[in-house]
C-alpha cells in the first residue's frame, strides 16, 4: 500500500514536470496561435545554456540561473524574430511546418555545436530524496512541482486578469482582428517566445538536475505534448490537473501493468490518452471550444 501511494505521488510529480514543459507549448499558443513543435529543443537549448554557465564558465548557481534564464529568453526572442515574425497572417500549415523545420534545425545545431557527448549537469536541487515514513520522494521533482504550480497560477492570472495578458489572448483568437484593434501582434508573439524559452529552461533544470545531459533529453518535449492537448491548448491552470492525471496513469502502468505484459506500455500511455481525447473531445478538458469539426 505504501509503495502504491508512493508510485502515485512520484507519478503526479513527474506529471507536474510534464505540465511545466507543456506550459511552454500553451504559453506560446496562448499568445500567438502558433503551436511550437520545437518545444523539446528549447528545453535542451536551455539545458545547454545552464550547463555552459555553470560547468563551463564556472559561475555560482545564484549567478548562473538568472543569467541562464535571460540568455534563454534571448534565444527565444531571436528564434521568434528570425522565423515567426515573417509568418504573421500565414496559414496554419506554414506555422506548423516552420516549427517542425525548427525542430530538426535546432536539433541539428545543438548536435553540431555541442556534439553527441554525455555531459554532467549541475546539481541544482538537492539529490537527497525526501523520506516520508516509508515513502521516498525525489527532491528535484518535489521542488519542481511547487515551481510548476506557482508558475501556473501566476501565468493563469496574467493571461486571464491583466490587461496585457488579455491583449495576448486576443492575438491567439485572431491575428488580423487583434492587430486591427490596435494590439501589437509582433510584440505579443515575441513575449510568448521569450516566456516559452524561459519556462523550457526551468523545465530543463528540474528535469536534468544532477543527471547527465545529451541532446536526446529533448524527448521530454514529445512526452509533454499529450499533457498540453489533454488540458486543452488554451488552459494554463488545466495543465496541472492534466499533468497529474497523465503522470499517475503512466506511473501506475509502468509499475503494475508492464511487469504483467512484459513491455513498456507506460511510455505510450500518454499518447493513448492523447488520441482518445483528440477523438472524444478535441478541445481538451479546459480548452476553448473553437476547433472546427467537419
Amino acid at each position: 500500500m505504501v509503495y502504491f501511494i508512493n508510485d502515485i505521488i512520484t507519478g503526479a510529480l513527474i506529471g507536474l514536470l510534464y505540465s511545466l514543459v507543456a506550459m511552454g507549448f500553451v504559453v506560446i499558443y496562448r499568445a500567438s496561435k502558433v503551436f511550437n513543435f520545437a518545444q523539446g529543443e528549447l528545453v535542451i537549448i536551455g539545458g545547454f545554456i545552464v550547463w555552459f554557465t555553470t560547468m563551463q564558465a564556472g559561475l555560482s548557481l545564484w549567478l548562473s540561473i538568472p543569467l541562464s534564464l535571460v540568455l534563454a529568453g534571448l534565444v527565444g526572442y531571436a528564434i521568434e524574430r528570425i522565423f515567426l515574425t515573417k509568418l504573421i497572417g500565414e496559414s496554419v500549415f506554414s506555422m506548423v511546418m516552420v516549427t517542425v523545420g525548427l525542430l530538426i534545425l535546432l536539433r541539428g545545431l545543438v548536435l553540431l555545436v555541442f556534439g553527441p557527448a554525455v555531459r554532467p549537469f549541475p546539481i541544482i536541487f538537492p539529490l537527497k530524496p525526501l523520506f516520508l515514513g516509508d515513502m521516498l520522494i525525489p527532491m528535484n521533482l518535489l521542488i519542481g512541482g511547487i515551481i510548476t504550480i506557482v508558475a501556473a497560477v501566476g501565468l493563469s492570472w496574467f493571461f486571464n486578469r491583466t490587461r496585457s495578458g488579455l491583449r495576448m489572448t486576443a492575438v491567439a483568437e485572431d491575428h488580423v482582428v487583434a492587430s486591427s484593434m490596435g494590439i501589437s501582434v509582433k510584440g505579443s508573439i515575441a513575449v510568448a517566445w521569450v516566456l516559452g524559452a524561459i519556462l523550457s529552461t526551468i523545465g530543463a533544470m528540474i528535469f536534468l538536475s544532477g543527471k547527465s545531459l545529451t541532446f536526446l533529453a529533448s524527448d521530454i518535449g514529445f512526452a509533454a505534448l499529450p499533457v498540453a492537448l489533454f488540458a486543452g491548448l488554451e488552459s494554463i491552470g488545466g495543465l496541472i490537473l492534466a499533468g497529474i492525471i497523465i503522470g499517475i496513469a503512466q506511473s501506475l502502468t509502468t509499475n503494475y501493468l508492464d511487469p504483467l505484459i512484459g513491455g513498456s506500455l507506460g511510455s505510450v500511455v500518454p499518447y493513448i490518452i492523447m488520441l482518445a481525447i483528440l477523438l472524444i473531445r478535441p478541445t481538451g478538458l479546459f480548452g476553448w471550444r473553437t476547433i472546427e469539426r467537419v
Binding site: 506548423v96 505510450v268 483528440l278 467537419v294
Partner: protein
C-alpha cells in the same frame, strides 16, 4: 525516359544506388503529395506508414516466401489500412491537431515494433529480408534492383497523375481549398479525407516494401519522425499540389543528402568530436533551414517559380 532505362549501362553503380533511393523516395513523396499537397491533410507520419509497408513486405517475404509481385501490393494495402485508421481521425479534427495524431501514429508504430514479442516483428533486432525473385531471376545487384524500382515507381507515378485528375483528385482539391464549400457541393468530406490518407499511406507502404527489398533489412530506426519530416521537406521544396513538384523535391533533397553524406566524413575528420553524427546533424540543419526558408520566402515551392517563369516566357514581351 529511355535514357533512364539504359542508366545501369551508362553510369557508375554509385549513381545507380542514388537513383534507387530517389525512386523509392519518389513513390513515398508522391503519396504524401496526394495526402498533404492535394487533399490538404497535414501528415507527419509518412515514415510510419512506410515502415508498416516495409515490415509487412519483409514478414511476408521471409516467413511465407510470397513473391514480390504479391508482397509489394499487400504491403501497400496494410499501410493503407493503418493510414485509413488515422484518416478517420482526420474526419473529426483538422489543422495542426491532425499533425499531432499523425505524430502519435509515429510513436505507436515505434512502440508496437519494439514491444510486441520479437518473434512477430523482430523487436529491436529488425528483420532480414530475402531478395526479390521472379522466374529464377534474383534482384540482388544494384542494377537489377534499379529495374524493379523503376517499374514500380513508373506505375505508381503514372497512377498518381491519374488519381489527381480523377473525381477523387478533384474532390481532394475541393476539400483542401474549402471543406465547407466542398460539403455543400455534395462531396463527402469525411470520406474524402480518409481516402486521402488511404492513398497516401498506400504509396508509403509500396515505397516501404521497395525499401525493404533494396536494403534487405528493416529496423525501426529507419522510420522515425525525422524521416517523416524529410519527406515533408521534399514536397515543400518541390511545391505543394503538384506531382512533378514532388519529384523535383525528391531529386533536390536526395542530392543535398548525398552531398552531405559525401562531404560530411571529410569534415568529421577535422572536427573529430562529432564523429559519425555529423551527417545526421548536418542533414537536420540543412533540411530544417530549407523548410523554414521555403515557408518564409516561397511557400508554394519551386514548381510555382517554374510556372511563373514559363508563363512569362510564353507571353514575352508583354508583362501579362
Amino acid at each position: 525516359m529511355a535514357l533512364l532505362l539504359l542508366a545501369p549501362y551508362l553510369v557508375s553503380s554509385r549513381i545507380i544506388a542514388i537513383l534507387n533511393m530517389m525512386m523509392i523516395s519518389a513513390v513515398i513523396a508522391v503519396g504524401l503529395q496526394i495526402c498533404t499537397g492535394y487533399a490538404g491533410q497535414i501528415n507527419l507520419g509518412q515514415a510510419a506508414f512506410m515502415g508498416v509497408g516495409a515490415y509487412t513486405a519483409s514478414i511476408l517475404a521471409s516467413k511465407t516466401g510470397l513473391t514480390f509481385l504479391l508482397t509489394i501490393p499487400l504491403a501497400g494495402l496494410s499501410a493503407a489500412l493503418f493510414g485509413f485508421l488515422f484518416g478517420l481521425t482526420a474526419a473529426r479534427i483538422k489543422g495542426f491537431y491532425l499533425a499531432l495524431t499523425t505524430i502519435a501514429a509515429q510513436f505507436l508504430f515505434h512502440f508496437a515494433v519494439l514491444n510486441l514479442p520479437s518473434t512477430w516483428l523482430g523487436g529491436s533486432n529488425g528483420i532480414t529480408v530475402p531478395p526479390a525473385e521472379l522466374f529464377g531471376l534474383r534482384f540482388v545487384s544494384e542494377s537489377s534492383q534499379f529495374y524493379l524500382n523503376f517499374a514500380v515507381t513508373a506505375i505508381m507515378v503514372a497512377g498518381a497523375f491519374g488519381i489527381v485528375r480523377s473525381r477523387f483528385g478533384r474532390a481532394f482539391v475541393a476539400v483542401r481549398d474549402d471543406d465547407v464549400a466542398a460539403g455543400i457541393m455534395g462531396i463527402n468530406v469525411a470520406a474524402t479525407k480518409a481516402n486521402a490518407f488511404l492513398i497516401g499511406a498506400f504509396y508509403a507502404g509500396v515505397g516501404g516494401a521497395l525499401w525493404a527489398y533494396l536494403i534487405r533489412f528493416v529496423g525501426v530506426d529507419q522510420f522515425t519522425l525525422f524521416h517523416s519530416i524529410f519527406f515533408v521537406a521534399m514536397i515543400i521544396v518541390g511545391g505543394m499540389g503538384s506531382i512533378v513538384g514532388a519529384l523535383i523535391g525528391v531529386f533536390i533533397i536526395r542530392i543535398i543528402q548525398e552531398i552531405i553524406a559525401t562531404v560530411g566524413p571529410n569534415i568529421a575528420d577535422s572536427v573529430s568530436f562529432l564523429g559519425g553524427d555529423i551527417v545526421f546533424a548536418g542533414m537536420n540543419v540543412v533540411l530544417g533551414g530549407v523548410i523554414a526558408l521555403f515557408m518564409i520566402l516561397e511557400p508554394k515551392g519551386l514548381m510555382h517559380r517554374w510556372n511563373i517563369l514559363k508563363s512569362s516566357y510564353r507571353i514575352w514581351p508583354f508583362p501579362y
